[in-house]
């Protein structure tokens, strides 16, 4: 897609283009495998249901299905009062024919684990999304320890390598997002904001890799991030913030009791909007890509397959942008809410 730009003389730019090309190739390749997989299914006279396929992808699972039939089993961690903590591989829930079977008295049905005897059981399994939370965290630690090493090595010098790749982003978050939103006390919140931004960004990008989990498009993940925003906002709320909620200044007195519930609801809708926005935009992106891929199998035509591949590639490029924008928006709004909370009376 950017072959005509190969004559870029600048090495760094070329590396980025090379990375993009490789990324694009991976996308194309995996779509081909996906199509082959479903094509074989179609041969078995099994009707293809795009809704099931898409739902299966965007939801969490106890095994990581990289492509059709290739499943990486993940540890299942269960806690119930009678058995205590039980850990086993999720592969035990399937027989050779890939059919769900009970194991140790536990049943797996639609990725929900229950006990055969009806007792309640708590599921803390390392699911596909949990695995991707771990991968996201591991990548963050790897990358940013390398960045920190760069700062230790090149003290007072120009950044180098991975350090120079992330320094503009770090400075952008600091100077354009956190500092103007929060104001003077931005330094207290900067570590959280940087972690938040890079966690969402890396998570979004990871999700775009075909076969990967829809981790940042899961409401539980975004809920935890939104809870962080909620607690940070309200715990750092100053007098001006609370007085604005409970006795809004600058409005007629009779209007204040009417505004009060609105403001109170606003305290909760702010983080909820963050939670839903990230979840929806990432999940929607995945649904769009998968729907376009499904068109091929609905029409049983390689011409449609070619067309949808082109469109999916373009959508994926847009998704790269969305991945960054959503990470930015989440960080931006968290900073703004905290900024409103810590603002002194003006």
């Amino acid at each position: 897609m950017s072959g005509e730009k190969r004559n870029m003389t600048e090495n760094g730019a070329f590396k980025i283009y090379k990375g993009l090309i490789i990324y694009g190739l991976i996308c194309l390749f995996s779509m081909v495998t996906l199509q082959q997989a479903y094509a074989s299914d179609a041969g078995d006279a099994q009707s293809f249901n795009p809704g099931d396929m898409i739902n299966h992808h965007i939801k969490d699972a106890h095994g990581w299905e990289i492509t059709h039939g290739v499943v990486v089993p993940l540890p299942v961690i269960l806690y119930s009062e009678s058995d205590g903590l039980v850990i086993f591989s999720s592969a035990n829930f399937f027989n050779e024919a890939h059919q769900e079977v009970p194991y140790l008295g536990y049943l797996l049905s639609h990725e929900h684990i229950s006990r055969a005897d009806g007792q309640s059981v708590f599921d803390f399994s390392i699911t596909k999304n949990v695995l991707f939370i771990f991968i996201d965290a591991a990548i963050m630690l790897l990358v940013f320890f390398a960045v920190a090493r760069g700062y230790k090595k090149n003290v007072g010098k120009a950044p180098k390598g991975v350090q120079s790749l992330f320094e503009p982003v770090i400075i952008y978050i600091r100077d354009e997002v956190v500092k103007p939103s929060i104001g003077e006390k931005y330094q207290t919140y900067l570590p959280y904001m940087l972690t938040l931004f890079f966690f969402i960004w890396f998570g979004n990008l990871l999700g775009l890799i075909p076969g990967a989990a829809n981790m940042t498009g899961n409401i539980a993940v975004t809920a935890v991030l939104a809870l962080g925003t909620f607690f940070m906002t309200n715990f750092s709320g100053k007098k001006a913030y609370w007085s604005h909620i409970f006795w809004t200044p600058g409005v007629p007195w009779w209007l204040r009791p009417i505004i009060l519930p609105v403001e109170l609801i606003g305290v909760f809708t702010k983080p909820v909007s963050l939670m839903v926005r990230l979840f929806v935009s990432i999940t929607a992106g995945h649904i769009v890509v998968l729907s376009l891929v499904s068109l091929t199998f609905i029409f049983h035509s390689w011409m449609v397959g070619f067309g949808s591949t082109v469109i999916v590639t373009l959508i994926t490029i847009i998704e790269l942008l969305v991945a960054t924008i959503q990470a930015y928006v989440f960080t931006m709004f968290t900073s703004l809410y905290i900024g409103m909370a810590v603002e002194e009376h003006h």
Partner: protein
């Protein structure tokens, strides 16, 4: 619909992992990184400031130099002017001194001439008196009979004396 219901297992793991990553990164990465960035930024700012200061100092020094030069020029002009005045004065003084000396010399010469003249005159007078005495003696000795001729002689001598 179950897409919208957060799974507690996932909530649990996300909370744990995110907290751990946040703590580790905050302590071992964000703190040193933001500090390094701050120090580097302040260093750059300081160097720019000091460069600006150095530039200003340079300008100041340049201005000072110019002023010193200007002052030196003024001083030089003043010195030259003073020197001319002094030189002129010396010249004038020398002139007047010379005039005085020459005047004095002239007057000295005049007085010497006068005294020399007087001395010469007195000598002449003495000579005349001795001559007249000699003449008288001779006249007396040559028997005073030839009256008119003697008278003529006396007159002739006197005439000679007065001329001197």
């Amino acid at each position: 619909m179950d897409l919208l219901i957060p799974d507690y297992g996932l909530l649990f793991w996300q909370l744990i992992v995110f907290s751990i990553v946040l703590t580790i990164l905050a302590v071992f990465v964000w703190k040193p990184v933001t500090e390094a960035l701050r120090t580097r930024e302040s260093m750059i700012e300081d160097s720019i400031k000091s460069a600006e200061l150095a530039r200003e100092e340079m300008m100041q020094i340049k201005a000072d130099n110019e002023m010193v030069l200007k002052e030196a020029r003024v001083q030089r002009d003043q010195l030259l002017k003073d020197a001319t005045v002094v030189a002129n004065k010396i010249k004038e003084d020398a002139k007047s001194e010379t005039a005085k000396i020459s005047e004095k010399m002239i007057s000295d010469a005049k007085s010497i001439i006068e005294s020399e003249k007087n001395a010469a005159l007195s000598e002449v007078k003495n000579l005349v008196s001795s001559l007249s005495l000699d003449i008288a003696e001779k006249l007396i000795r040559e028997k005073l009979n030839n009256d008119p001729s003697q008278q003529q002689l006396v007159e002739k001598f006197l005439k000679e004396v007065k001329v001197n």
